[in-house]
Amino acid sequence: MSGTLTHAETRSTLSLHKLGVFCGLAAAVWLGTAEAPTKLVNAGFSPFIISMGMVMGAFVARWTVPTLLKGTGFVFSDLRAKPHLIVWAVLAGMLWAVANTLTIFAVRNVGLAIAFPLWNTNSLVGLLWGCLLFKELRGAGFKGWSKVLGGAFAIVGGAAILAYATSQQSSNTPGKAAVGILAALGAGLLLGTMYIPYRKAYISGMNPLSFVTIFTLGELITVFILGGIFFGGLGNLTGELERARPMLFWPFLGGFCWVVGDLFQNFAAKYIGIGRGIPLSNTNQLWGLAWGALVFSELSGLSPTGKALVITGSLVMIAGALSISTATPPVSELTSWEQSMHRECDRYRLDADHVAAVVAGNDPLAGQPHRTRWWEVLVMCTAAGIFVWLALGTNVQQISVSIPWMIVLVIGTLVPLGVCGTLLWRRTRFS
């Protein structure tokens, strides 16, 4: 007990709300950056294959850096303590895979301008489930509700303005528009519902690294099944992947960034809930836009009205993020969160004291040093080797890239990783 206290005492006293907000914003940076490498893919490849490459990259990336943070021993013991949550982690991966495939149909049929804001409503769906199923915002008062709801709507509104302003694509086939809108709304519903497993895992005391491990597995299996169905068999799918080999490094790199972003998003969902964490991480569109506009000069032909819309949309989105960032949950709301946690402990016979400590970022086991096993090193080297193998002989689309802006944005991406990673380590030891 004294050892536990010593660990807790040496940790930072940063509030969990601030930590969650930092994680949500870092998630936005990395999820937005994940879009950048896919811009280097040559034309002529199915968006489904590019998406699949990202999922495979995310799966492989999970076994690189995250393995260094927590040994697999910690992850497996976490999973053994809450085996029921494996079901929810797989389910979340399946929801993501189906939702992502729907977004491909949506963009094809109605274009990004209409599709993106529609599936960006996932944060509102998440907010609804957070409130209904996990008692988020209960007891937050009028001020809390206004800040969170207003912020979430502002972020969706900002997304709509940005998508409208930046889209070069118009709705092509009118007959297919309804199908595209349905696909985008379906994706929003699925992505918003995916946050139910996220929140459930974290109020049960699961570590985000354990959750993401199973999540990427569920995701990978589902995209392979879907790919097999869409390409008329696994043989055809493998053929497509072989054809795509020269460009696979880019979606893999995107998958790497996605895993980092998803980990931060999971920590945000853990420490500030899905009602606040998901809208914050959904500001990733701003970072995707920054890469597109500054590095790839995608907006160079934009009219003055278009540029004004981009600035307006960005400001609206930033205002929404600021509103949510300042909506610290009052004690009455935290009591509601606690009730949800006790529901899980009673239902699945979890140790309430231990879960409460983990939920508060004070996992007694988190500070203990882990012994790196030889096969963990082998797994990490294999995962890193796959990235190196793909990078060798990869093709780059001949497009102009602004190197100075790329350096600025790479630094701007690494800084939140360093800052937020340090904050997470100091406050929670990645628990």
Binding site: L91, M94, V98, A99, G186, R347
Partner: protein
């Protein structure tokens, strides 16, 4: 897995909401092919 845990999982609303949404999503996806 214990029988009581399996029962707790199968009677949990947190399971059925995502499962129903997933099924709806798969139906939608298949109808778009």
């Amino acid at each position: 897995m214990k029988r009581s845990t399996a029962v707790a999982i199968l009677t949990d609303v947190h399971l059925w909401v995502p499962v129903v949404v997933l099924i709806l999503g798969i139906i939608l996806l298949m109808s778009l092919r």
